[in-house]
Amino acid sequence: MPRRKLVTSLLLGAGSLAGSVLYRRRAARHRERVDIYAEDGSMVSVADGAPEAARLLSLAHELIHSVES
């Protein structure tokens, strides 16, 4: 059944591609974060998705774009 094999291969390929895109997007989102360090060496990480992260990351984006222009 060559046609059936072809369809299976295409579906597997499409599935892999979609999975790869979703994984990359998810990984990229997790790369956006704010790490805050105290004097004693302790650190808190405010990752994208946390309540304060949106404001902090928005300010960071603004700053980065402000120096580009």
């Binding site: 704010v34 105290a38 808190v44 304060e52 404001r55 960071a60 700053l63 980065i64 402000s66």
Partner: protein, 137 residues
């Protein structure tokens, strides 16, 4: 005035050794820009204001998580990162914009070194020897 010149030289040295840093500024406690690599004073002023807002928000976020005051931060985005290091006395801070995915430890090290060099006391002036005539009078 001398301090500002020193800060400018420190930033020139910093950008020369660190290719990851795109722009950097040294700002005093009152928000005054001591030196920056940004094109003009207005842009540097806007940058300092933005960093001040980021520091306020980071103070709040840190406090919510039980962190009492902070000395440095990194805000990492896909377009680049913002680094801020406060001086131990809290009298000034250095803020930098870097390329995406920088070597975090190295950037912090360079920024601390730069801030320290600006805050370092000037070497003592050489003592001038009094003339004999003056000393005898």
């Amino acid at each position: 005035m001398l301090r500002t010149v020193d800060a400018a030289q420190a930033l020139a040295d910093l950008t020369e050794i660190s290719s990851q840093i795109v722009h950097v500024a040294i700002v005093d406690r009152d928000g005054g820009v001591l030196a920056s690599t940004l094109g003009d004073e207005r842009q540097a002023g806007r940058f300092a204001e933005g960093v001040a807002r980021l520091l306020e928000e980071a103070d709040v976020a840190g406090a919510v998580r039980g962190l009492a005051g902070f000395v440095q931060l990194e805000a990492a985005t896909l377009d680049g990162s913002i680094f801020v290091v406060r001086s131990p006395a809290g009298s000034s801070y250095i803020a930098a914009v870097t390329r995406p995915e920088p070597t975090v430890g190295l950037v912090f090290y360079d920024l601390k070194h730069c801030l320290k060099s600006v805050g370092a006391p000037a070497p003592p002036a050489r003592a001038t020897r009094r003339k004999k005539a003056d000393a005898s009078s």
